[in-house]
Structure formats: C-alpha cells, structure tokens
C-alpha cells in the first residue's frame, strides 16, 4: 500500500505542468540527439548541464534523464536506416537492423525497435520502483573477482556474434582488446603505447571507436558507390510498418530476455547499456534454433538489444540514486545536477526526498509513453530521410560526428581519433573483417584486465581464492561449460554438414 501511495505522490509530482514540460523537452531532445549519429547523451547532457543551476532539482533531473533514455530510443534509427549507430549502445542494432532495411522492412524494424524500447524501458522502471534498495545492496557484493568472471563469460558468450568465421571473429576481439590497452596502466600508472601524447593517457573513448568504425567506415565505403539498394518509398506507409504475426511471435521471448539482461547490467556500476545490448544479442543468437538467420535481418536481433539497452538505461539509476554512486560518466552528470542543489543522493534520498525520487521514477513512465507516441509517427519521416541524396546526407553526418567527438572533452585529438577509427573501419570492410567483435573486445577487454589485476592484488596473487568466491566461482564454471559446449557443438555441426555433403553426393 505504501508503494501505491509513493506512486501516487510521484505521479502527482511528475504530472505538474512544468515537470511535464521538462519531461517532454528532455525526451524530445533525446530522440533527436539519438537519431543524429555522433552526438550522444553525454555530449547533449554536458551542454545542457549549466541550465540545472537555474531549475528546480526535480525538473532538472527529469529533463536530463529524459535526454538520456530518449537517446536510446532514437539511437536505433540511424543504425537501421544507414548502418551508422546513432548512439554507442545501438551499435549492435546495425547487425540485423540494416539488413532489414535493405529488404524493404525498415518501417517494421523501426516500429519493432520503438515498441521494444518501450517494453524494455517499462521493465526497467518496474524493477527500479520495486527493488531499488535490494538491488543496490546486491550490486555491492560484486567484487573485482566477480566482475572479472562475469566479463569473461560475456566475452566467451559474445565472441561469436558476427557472421564471420570464428577465426576472424576471435582475431577482431583480440585486436579490440589490444586497442583498449592504450592508456594509463590501471595498477602501476605507467603510460602504455601513448608515445608521449597526453590525449592518449586516458585511452581511446568508446564513442570515438563506435562512431569511427561503424559511422565513418560506412561513409568512406559508400564513397564512389552507387546506392546499393533503392529504398522503397512504400516502406514508410503505415501498412508496411506493421509487423507480421510471425515477427510478433518471434519477438516475445527475446524481448523478455533482453529486458532481464538489460536490467541486470544496467544496475551494475561500471557496465551499462552498450554491454547489455551486446549480451542480449549474443544470448539470442545462442538460444536460437536458427542462428544462421542472425546478421541477415532477424527480428530477434533488433528486439533483444533494444529492450536491453533501454532497460539498462532505467536500472542505471539504481546505484546512482540509492547509493549516490554513478556507474557511468552520464550518471555522474545526473548526480551533479542533484549536488548543485545540495541534495545528497544515497539510501536516505528515498526517505528524505520522496517527491523527487518517485517523481523522477514516474516521469520515466510518462517519458517512455511520450517517446512511444512521439516515435511512431516519426518513423515515416525518418524513412524518408533516406531519400536525401547521400552526397548531402553523409557530409552532414560527418560534421555531427566531429562535433560530437570534440564537444565532450574539448580536445581536437578526439576528432583525429574518430577519423582514425573511420579509416580502420574502412580497411576492415575491404578485408571482410567484422567490426562488431572488435568493439566487443574493446569494451570488455579493459574491464577483464583491470578487474583481474585488482582481484589478484586483493587475493595476494592466489588464483584459487577467485574460484572460491560464490559468484565468481559459479560464473567461471559456467564460462568453462559454455566454452566446452561451443567447441563440441561446432564439431558436431561440422560432422553433420560433412555427412550431409556425402549423402548428397551419394544420392
């Protein structure tokens, strides 16, 4: 009953005309920023942060949060239509979203990602409203060894996300991990592969990597090419946006699994929507009876990551609000918006500022509903964006990518990094090497390395103590099982194929 009272209080706060307006402003801006490749939520929120000095803290937080989760809604649009992720967390959506668009199913893909985003977001909000304090406590019990085990499991599970030969995929994962080793060593403070450049001391940024590899790589490889597929104007028609019964049937379980995976990774400080999207995609491909459909326009391949990244967006507020500890740079900004007003987030926030906490949570609902209503009619408009000739569209995107790269740190070197990764992305395309595993290795590699080294310091060099930890030990055992199972099933499949080939010859 107390919960109902809280929800009513929250709804009352969130529905006040000014808060409603800021919520709308936030999600509208977020969608817009999400659609434009290059400018991510961090850049957008940084630019708008100074406004919070002049706003009521609840309104400020409602607006900044709106930008944050709104971006993830819009992020998939460019992934699907242009094969360029609008935000880092929607890089995975390119894998199946773009093939869908090439098959004339852009409208369906956009419709499904919008609905999936809403479903994932709603799932995350339910978790956030019901279990925040419990989850925050549970997340604290994750030590470096547990993170290490979890990220290793993720790497093993997701290393086969690309439709390339395992050797190529694995090579790209390793390359990604190597690229991520540039920067200050996490335990000794020694500069690694920086060649005296201060800009490299913090390593490469994930958004520079994603925008360069996928965005600029795509733009470079399109230069001189005639548009490979004529986009069918009719895919913008409502009739062609409605998913088939088969699409809906296939999307149920991926949506649920994606929401659960997203909620889990969102609530863990240090991980977030990008890792969640990768994991959700990897899980779907693994559990699918027809993994060969992935990468060729499988609806599960867009529903899973899109529910996951939106769910993660919402649950990322759990450590931020209940512990007062941000799990990411964007969450640190949210926290800053509260601190500016002398409000200290932490376990007491819910008790001392119930209107703020529940108002924010209820504004998430309202924001998600606004996003659903806002995005569905916009689909037609976005699809028509493809009718803009590429010689105008791509230079514009290039400009936005450069602005987005520069604006976060005001460092020109970041623009060079994006362009460098663009050239790398182009090279990979020519060589027929998949970029997604590279990004995966880049995201998980440093986490695996630093968490492992931390856990070794804490265990004083004794590896067996890692195995003895309940979470880490279980997860490592699962990882080993998965590895064995992958090898066995690969051998079996090869045998079956060989037998089938022989049978075919015999008949």
């Amino acid at each position: 009953m107390e919960l109902l009272g809280n929800l009513a209080l929250g709804l009352n706060t969130a529905l006040s005309p000014s808060n409603l307006l800021y919520c709308f402003l936030g999600v509208f801006l977020g969608t817009f920023v999400g659609v434009i490749p290059g400018i991510g939520p961090l850049a957008a929120i940084s630019m708008l942060f100074p406004i919070t000095f002049y706003l009521d803290p609840t309104a400020a937080l409602i607006m900044l949060a709106g930008i944050y989760y709104g971006t993830t809604y819009g992020g998939s649009t460019a992934s699907i239509l242009l094969n360029i992720p609008g935000a880092t967390s929607s890089a995975v959506t390119c894998l199946d979203g773009y093939p869908m668009a090439q098959q004339g199913r852009a409208g369906v893909a956009l419709m499904m990602t919008t609905v999936a985003s809403f479903a994932g977001g709603s799932f995350g909000i339910i978790i956030l409203s019901l279990f925040s304090p419990i989850i925050a406590e549970y997340a604290l019990s994750f030590g470096p060894a547990d993170y290490f085990a979890l990220m290793l499991l993720g790497l093993v599970a997701a290393s086969t996300i690309a439709n390339a030969s395992p050797a190529k995929g694995l090579a790209m994962v390793v390359l990604g991990m190597l690229v991520a080793s540039v920067g200050t060593d996490s335990q000794s403070g020694v500069a690694r592969f920086t060649f005296g450049s201060m800009s490299l001391l913090d390593g490469f940024g994930i958004s520079a990597m994603a925008m360069g590899l996928f965005g600029i790589g795509e733009i470079l490889s399109s230069v001189g090419n005639a548009r490979s597929t004529a986009i069918d104007k009719s895919s913008a028609k409502w009739r062609n946006m409605v998913p088939t019964r088969d699409d809906v049937r296939r999307s149920w379980m991926p949506g649920l699994r994606g929401s659960a995976i997203g909620s889990f990774f969102g609530a863990l400080p240090g991980t977030g929507p990008s890792i969640a999207a990768f994991m959700a995609y990897a899980v779907e491909k693994r559990v699918s009876d027809t993994p060969e459909r992935f990468g060729k326009g499988a609806i599960e391949g867009i529903v899973a990551p899109e529910t996951a990244n939106n769910a993660a967006d919402q649950t990322a507020f759990i450590p931020t609000l209940t512990l007062g500890i941000p799990g990411s740079a964007t969450m640190a900004l949210m926290l800053g918006a509260l601190m500016v007003h002398g409000i200290q987030p932490g376990p007491t926030l819910i008790v001392q500022q119930p209107a703020l906490f529940w108002g924010l949570v209820m504004s998430f609902w309202i924001g998600n509903i606004i996003l659903l209503v806002l995005n569905l009619p916009l689909i037609g408009l976005w699809v028509r964006m493809l009718l803009v000739p590429y010689q105008y569209l791509y230079p514009a995107i290039l400009v936005f990518v450069c602005i987005g790269a520069y604006s976060v740190r005001a460092n020109p070197a970041d623009v060079l990094m994006v362009l460098g990764f663009g050239v790398l992305g182009y090279g990979l395309r020519i060589a027929g090497l998949p970029a997604a595993p590279l990004l995966l290795g880049f995201v998980l590699g440093p986490l695996i390395e630093t968490q492992f080294r931390r856990s070794m310091v804490l265990a004083q060099g004794d590896f067996t103590t890692i195995m003895a930890r309940p979470i880490a030990g279980t997860v490592l055992a699962l990882t080993a099982l998965l590895l064995v199972w992958s090898v066995v099933s690969a051998i079996r499949r090869r045998r079956r194929l060989a037998q089938a080939a022989q049978g075919g010859l015999g008949g």
Binding site: S46, F49, F53, A139, G143, M198, A329, R409, R454
Partner: protein, 317 residues
C-alpha cells in the same frame, strides 16, 4: 568571524587593486575546469562563476577540458596569455600529476601562477564493511592483525598518495589497490572488497553520515573544527601526515603580482557570498584566506612532497 574579515578584506583589497588594474576584466573571463561537466570541481567553479559575473559585470565562461588526470586542461592554461582572462580551477591533482607524468609539456613552477586557495578541507580516512574498529588507534591495531587493502581512485591520484603517506608514516603492512575513480573505490569498500579510502570531506562525509562507512581519522596533526568527533592521525601518534585537500585558482605563468592580488580579492569576495558559504558548510570545508605568495609556497611544497614520495615508491615513468 573569519568570513566577515575575509569579506571586508576582500572588498578593501579589490578597491585598492582596482586602482592599480582598473582595466580588468576587459572582456569575458574563461575559467578552465580540467574535469568533466557535473563533477564536484565543475559545480564549484560554476557556482563561483555565477557570483563573479555579478562582481565583474562580465560573462564568465566555464570550459571543461578533462583528461590525463587534469593535465590536459592545465596544459591549456599554460598556453594562454597571463592577462587574467584565462584562469584554471583545479584540485590538489595539479601537484600529484606532475610527480608521475614524465611527458608533461610545462614546468609546474615556471608556467603556472598560483593565485588563490579557494576551498580547503582535510583528508579523511574512511573504513568499509570489513573494518571492525571505529577510530584510527583501533585501525592501527587491527592493521597489525590482518592485511589491509587501501583503495584509491587510481594510481597517482591524491587518494593514492595519501594512502602511501599513511602506510609509510604508520609503518603499516598494507597494500594499495587502485580503482577507476572515487565512486568505484567507495562501492568496493562498502561491499567489503577493499578496506579503506582516503578523500576530502566533501567526497566521503555523505556516506559517513549515511552510516555506510566509518570515519576513522582526519589526516592532520589536530582534530578538524568542523568534525570534532573524528580522531586525528596526530592524536593516534602518527606524525608526518600534514597535507590538506584543496580546490584552488591558478593563472598562466608570469602573471603580474598586482593582477594576481586583484583576482585573489575578487574570488575572496565571491567566496564570501551567502550561497558559497552554504556550499562550504554542506561540504564540511573552509574558504582559504591566503595571499598568492602564501599559496604559492604551499603549492611548491606539495609538488615536492609528492615528487619525493613518487620517487620513493617507484611510481610513474
């Protein structure tokens, strides 16, 4: 009382200085913040900026240039003109980073003019879920019975240097373990994975007040007036730990001393406003009241302390 004096002093000094440097500021003043938007240094700088716009009647632009442990923004400052229109607000990181970064593109003494100590507060040692003792004396005993892990915000951070300083001063059989930033260091301590963390009052007191972590010691010879219940490291018999955390204002090297005095006074006036005073109270911190010359002495002393410590523990490049 201190505040009133500081304010009065500030006003008098700014009037005298205004006579000397009537032409400052002649345009917008840029304050470089070498950290990301929304962090504690950034929000402090923005709050001061709002007050300074009133005092100066000129726009104050906060420019975030994060990276390389605050050294990217600091380097940007050293390349600006020393006419007071480009300033830097940085933490004690400006003294720790040079100790470990070999490739620094400026001379921390020649290319930087320390102008004003804005905010100062002691470093506090806090203990997490696994620490049984409730004060520093108890902690020192506990640390003899089992290996303690002192969590830091990263190699070369002030939490790292302070941890090393405590280990050496108290001769503890402890080890440091580095996390990626203060947030991660604190969650790991709360979860009982590491044992302690050292940071300024503003970063740790919220969690102490929540009861999530225990304040073991104020790292200073004497107790801190705003936190009288916390034992000082000096009381527990540990000597040689006498460094405070701060947020301070810097200009490019070779700034005219008269101009530095005027800017110092203008900032003192901004710090004396009711909103800034409230911020100090919320963060258990004190406004600094040093002249540029007095602050420069502390700045070079801290630089040297960390440099020697980095050499002693073999840190850096």
């Amino acid at each position: 009382m201190k505040t009133i004096i500081a304010a009065a002093l500030g006003t008098t000094m700014s009037m005298t200085a205004a006579w000397a440097q009537a032409d400052f500021p002649t345009g917008p003043v840029t304050i470089i913040v070498p950290y990301g938007t929304g962090g504690s240094t950034d929000t402090t700088a923005r709050a001061i900026g709002i007050e300074l716009e009133q005092i100066w009647g000129q726009p104050v632009v906060i420019q975030n240039q994060p990276g390389a442990g605050s050294m990217i923004g600091t380097t940007a400052l050293t390349m600006a003109d020393a006419d007071g229109h480009t300033l830097l607000i940085n933490t004690a990181a400006i003294t720790t980073a040079p100790a470990i970064q070999a490739e620094l593109q400026f001379d921390p003494i020649e290319d930087i003019t320390p102008i004003s100590l804005l905010i100062t507060s002691p470093y506090v040692l806090v203990g997490g879920a696994n620490v049984q003792s409730t004060d520093f004396s108890g902690f020192l005993e506990e640390a003899q019975t089992r290996m303690m892990f002192l969590g830091t915000a990263g190699p070369g951070s002030s939490s790292h240097f302070m941890s090393e300083l405590v280990i050496r001063a108290a001769n503890l059989p402890a080890e440091v373990v580095h996390f990626s930033g203060g947030g991660e260091a604190q969650t790991n301590m709360m979860g009982g994975h590491s044992d302690t963390y050292i940071s300024t009052t503003a970063s740790v007191m919220p969690y102490v007040n929540d009861g999530r972590v225990k304040a073991l010691a104020v790292l200073a010879p004497e107790r801190f007036a705003l936190l009288p219940d916390i034992q000082s490291s000096g009381e527990a018999g540990i000597e040689g730990v006498d460094i405070e955390g701060w947020v301070a204002l810097f200009g490019p090297g070779g700034m005219d001393p008269a101009l530095a005095d005027q800017i110092n006074a203008d900032f003192a006036q901004a710090m004396a406003t009711a909103s800034m005073q409230q911020m100090l109270v919320d963060n258990y911190a004190v406004a600094g009241d040093l002249t540029p010359a007095e602050f420069a002495a502390i700045y070079s002393r801290d630089l040297q302390t960390w440099d020697e410590l980095a050499d002693a523990i073999g840190l850096g490049n």
